[in-house]
């Protein structure tokens, strides 16, 4: 997790520290239990393959949430994630590194809040972007 984030130090074009996730099948099962979302493609290999998938796949919501974690790790206790949008463009497989990344695209104030807009995405080990999107965070004074 990052130290204290200072709004004045944020620059358009700067990179958000990359968060690397390598999701184990056990984590996928834990996610199913925690969210009570039990779609079998996330833990039943035979079912996933019968659905035309290469094997079990990580829930899109889980990897999208990892983008949220990337942002809150960057923010520390210095702000909040206001908006997070993601289009799911490819499968996220367990036991592979997934790289959660972002860059700052804008800084502005609105209704007294210090806001930062970012492009965010997830890349797999082959460099394919499996999730693309954007986010807006607020940074405390």
């Amino acid at each position: 997790m990052a130290g204290k984030l200072n709004y004045d130090d944020i620059r358009v074009g700067m990179e958000i520290p990359t968060l690397v996730k390598n999701l184990s099948p056990r984590q996928l099962v834990k996610w199913s239990g925690a969210t009570e979302e039990y779609y079998e493609i996330h833990y039943d290999k035979d079912f996933a393959i019968s659905n035309g998938l290469p094997g079990i796949v990580a829930p899109g919501a889980m990897v999208w949430s990892a983008l949220g974690q990337m942002l809150t790790d960057w923010l520390g206790n210095q702000g909040d994630v206001r908006v997070l949008r993601g289009s799911f463009r490819g499968m996220n497989l367990p036991r592979q590194n997934l790289y959660c990344k972002g860059t700052v695209t804008d800084k502005y104030t609105r209704d007294g809040a210090q806001l930062v807009a970012c492009d965010v995405w997830v890349e797999n080990t082959e460099g394919q972007k499996t999730i693309t999107g954007d986010a807006v965070v607020s940074v405390n004074p």
């Binding site: 899109g60 974690q69 809150t72 908006v83 993601g86």
Partner: protein
């Protein structure tokens, strides 16, 4: 696109319909299970929920049941999620979720030849009736 539409008249009638409500008690233990699954050890989540929690954990069950009832489209993938947070959510809060089917569109693709894309907009309210978050979910049925 050749052949009969994958969107039946019965499905078309559901556009604009409201689903829910479903009600969730935000429990500290469940939030801890969520962050343990994600391996997000930020101590902040002992006091409040991560920004993606309500979208991920507070399901609109009637919406999911309707999607799974489409027998001619037995498979489903998540096509995307969008969320805007307005207020923090904390353990002890009671969250009411409602949703609306915004659109149904038939599409063709490279790996999935024909599919139906369904977009829902869900709203999350706390026990004081305050809107804490709103989000959109895109489902691909094929």
């Amino acid at each position: 696109m050749s052949g009969k539409s994958l969107i039946t008249p019965e499905m078309e009638c559901m556009v604009g319909m409201e689903f829910g409500p479903d009600i969730y008690d935000i429990e500290k233990g469940m939030v801890q299970k969520y962050v343990a699954a994600l391996e997000d050890l930020n101590p902040r989540w002992l006091r409040e929920t991560p920004p993606t929690y309500v979208m991920s954990a507070c399901h609109l069950v009637p919406m999911e049941e309707w999607l799974m009832s489409l027998r001619h489209l037995p498979n489903m993938l998540n096509g995307g999620m969008e969320m805007e947070n307005f207020l923090p959510v904390k353990p002890g809060d009671v969250i009411t979720v409602t949703g609306k089917l915004l659109e149904l569109v038939e599409r063709t693709g490279k790996t999935i030849e024909r599919m139906v894309v369904a977009v829902f907009e869900n709203s999350f309210f706390n026990q004081r009736g305050e809107l804490v978050a709103r989000g959109r979910m895109t489902f691909i049925k094929y």
